[in-house]
């Protein structure tokens, strides 16, 4: 048990493991995949050494990992898994099952490009392709935020009874070491008490969970899921404020910086926000009115916040390290749909860049701002950094 707060230089993956330790997870079920393996290796050590009073089920696939989490969560245990890319895709069926069964499972997904061709590098398409599965999705920028989002994830999930996916970029976050504050257990326990499931399968109580729902009842179950997602917005903000009081760090649905008087805005998510911040800071030093918005929570989608923040601006560049084939970058689609009901909308341009882990440098983002400044209308996709 960690009795005093300490700062360690650890990778994003290990930050996730420490978040799981501090959350007193009871059942872990996971299957190895690069670049997630360090998460479960450290958790295995925590469990083997007795540091965690948990069962670690070393399943034979990600599909079974999620199935085992679902089984354990159905009887009221706090459960966790971690995966990436192909593994997340294999889990897809059970992602729907976890949310439909209203189980507050928390998972870390390390963003990695999907094959073929094989790639182990960062790309958000794996997690964004799961956007309709009923999981809350949190895109983190730092290792500290990864640790904090695991704890916050359980807090919010157990309040609204929906699962949470905490998403980290492969290598840029998962394998990059940075200082992370690891809180003392007592304070985390104060924030996150043991899980007391309001609905669970109980020995001796003859109830069935998940049985056949005919067209007379299925619809209402879906509406309740959407209502839970709506409640999650408020829960994320309220628990974020409580967390900030105890630990000194606030996380909301979106993070805005350099926005006062900003005419052009960069919108992005994940580790790329750090690169964008460096670029925007440089542009601000040059006197250009550029702002930065990082979408932290992708589900539930922050419609209200984005309208408030982006309304009245001239131009918005959405940077997508992902692609919905036959459509656009996925954050671009979603930002546009959020802004559509507004009478005066900014010009929104979608840039697809960095797929499969291709490097995105501050100079790229500065050049994107120059490109955005020239544009009077938005093409379908602006490809950035593609070799022709």
């Amino acid at each position: 048990m960690i009795t005093a707060s300490a700062t360690k230089v650890i990778t994003g993956n290990h930050a996730v493991s420490y978040g799981v330790l501090l959350s007193r997870v009871q059942v872990i079920s996971a299957y190895p995949i690069t670049p997630q393996t360090q998460v479960v290796e450290l958790l295995s050590e925590f469990v083997a050494s007795g540091k965690m009073a948990a069962r670690f089920i070393t399943v034979e696939s990600e599909h079974s990992a999620m199935a085992a989490c679902i089984g354990a969560a159905s009887v009221g245990a706090r459960t966790f898994t971690a995966t990436s890319s192909q593994g997340l895709a294999l889990m897809h069926e059970m992602l729907h099952w976890a949310s439909g069964a209203r189980l507050p499972i928390v998972m870390a997904n390390i963003n990695r490009a999907l094959a073929p061709p094989w790639s182990i590098w960062t790309d958000q398409t794996d997690s964004l392709a799961q956007r309709d599965t009923g999981w809350m999705q949190i895109y983190v920028e730092t290792s500290q935020e990864a640790l904090d989002s695991i704890i916050l994830g359980f807090k919010v999930s157990e309040r609204v009874l929906l699962p949470t996916m905490v998403v980290l970029d492969a290598f840029l976050l998962s394998h990059t070491a940075e200082p992370v504050e690891i809180y003392d257990q007592g304070r985390v326990d104060e924030f996150l008490p043991p899980f007391s499931a309001p609905y669970r399968l109980k020995p001796g109580v003859p109830q069935a969970l998940g049985g056949l729902a005919d067209p007379g009842v299925y619809f209402e179950f879906r509406v309740k899921l959407q209502e839970a997602m709506e409640k999650a917005r408020e829960a994320i903000l309220e628990e974020g404020k409580r967390f900030a009081k105890l630990f000194g760090r606030f996380y909301g649905l979106v993070q805005e910086e350099f926005m006062e008087d900003a005419e052009m805005v960069i919108v992005t998510a994940g580790a790329m926000a750090g690169t964008a911040r460096a670029a925007v800071r440089e542009l601000r030093n040059e006197g250009r009115k550029v702002g930065l918005v990082r979408i932290r929570v992708f589900r539930p989608f922050p419609f209200v916040e984005l309208r408030q923040i982006l309304g009245g601006r001239k131009k918005v560049a959405v940077l997508d390290r992902n692609l919905s084939l036959g459509h656009h970058g996925i954050f671009y689609e979603e930002v546009k749909s959020a802004l559509y009901p507004m009478a005066a909308r900014p010009l929104v341009v979608g840039y697809v860049l960095g797929l499969g882990g291709r490097d995105v440098r501050p100079e790229d983002i500065q050049a994107i701002v120059d490109d955005l400044e020239m544009r009077e209308e938005a093409p379908e996709i602006v490809w950035w950094g593609v070799k022709r």
Binding site: Q26, V59, H63, A67, A68, L209, G211, L212
Partner: protein, 314 residues
């Protein structure tokens, strides 16, 4: 509700019922009877994990539930993994007593759920896995599975091209995992089924019961013939009853009564198209299987003389 026990075939059988009337099984459903008998044997301190199968329907639609024990519905291929999760969850919450039963059909066991079952068995998860085998995908309308026997008609192995591969040997696969206990049973020998289920209950680790559960609509037979066909499956040697302990110690429950296989086949419309030559092929296959099993029994017990002949009253 009746309580207490009934002494029957030398076994104390609880009168308590865990299967409510009003369930949605077809007339003469082997799977419904299998559930009734297993729960009688194991008792009420259980949780059932149920993947997609006939029992998904038999248990009744929301908000109905035909069993007097808790039940978790789960996806088709996940019975063993979800059951392992339930067991782990109960244990970390301090409940080491509740038996977790994964209850799957042959499709969910032999086919789509085999990977998860292999994983759970290899890890020796403390679950009682029950496969009720009706030898095809009955819930979706009689499509062949890898448990469908050679020569059988199904809607995906029509008469012009009936099933051309032998039934997958699930017991050999499970034995290869060296799980503590695996046994076959049928609903037509309830004393044997109850004895095996109780034995399984008393063992920790992965235990598997492979229960032949005939399906009157799927096997193309009258519902009142279900028990008779189950008995003939054993009496003719088509479905041998045996136990495997630790993957190596084989004990045959009965030896066949020497009845021709035809007696079993002729009651079922799914075999009606077979010619005499084709039946001869099936007979050879059954004989070969028996030879293997007798050798495995002899290797364990040093003799085959101790195997009783199946008590078959016709």
């Amino acid at each position: 509700m009746r309580t207490g026990t009934l002494l029957w075939a030398g076994l104390e059988v609880p009168q308590e019922e865990y299967l409510h009337p009003g369930h949605l099984a077809c007339q003469g459903c082997g799977a419904a009877l299998a559930m009734r008998l297993v729960l009688k044997a194991v008792g009420g301190d259980v949780m059932v994990v149920l993947p997609a199968c006939c029992w998904t329907i038999i248990d009744g639609p929301f908000p109905y539930h035909a069993l007097r024990v808790p039940l978790l519905h789960t996806a088709f291929e996940t019975a063993a993994a979800a059951a392992a999760g339930v067991k782990a969850g109960l244990e970390v919450l301090g409940d080491t007593r509740t038996q977790v039963i994964a209850w799957a059909g042959d499709g969910g066991t032999f086919d789509i759920g085999l990977q998860a079952l292999s994983g759970a068995a290899e890890r020796n998860e403390d679950i009682l896995y029950i496969c009720y085998d009706n030898e095809a995908y009955m819930n979706t309308g009689i499509q062949r599975s890898s448990a469908t026997p050679l020569g059988a008609w199904t809607t995906t192995t029509p008469e012009a091209h009936p099933e051309d591969r032998p039934k997958k040997d699930l017991m050999a696969i499970m034995a290869a995992h060296r799980i503590p206990y695996a046994a076959t049973a049928t609903v037509a020998f309830p004393d044997d089924l109850i004895r095996k289920a109780r034995k399984a209950k008393g063992i920790r680790g992965t235990r598997l019961l492979h229960i032949l559960a005939p399906c009157p609509p799927g096997w193309r037979m009258e519902s009142e013939r279900m028990i008779k066909v189950s008995r003939l499956a054993v009496a003719t040697g088509a479905f041998p009853l045996f136990e495997v302990e630790e993957g190596t110690r084989y004990t045959l429950t009965y030896r066949p009564a020497g009845l021709p296989l035809k007696e079993y086949l002729k009651l079922q419309g799914r075999f009606a198209h077979l010619t005499e030559d084709q039946i001869a092929v099936l007979e050879k296959q059954v004989e070969a299987r028996w030879k293997e099993l007798l050798e495995l029994h002899a290797r364990t017990h040093g003799t085959v003389e101790d195997i009783p002949v199946v008590p078959f009253g016709g």
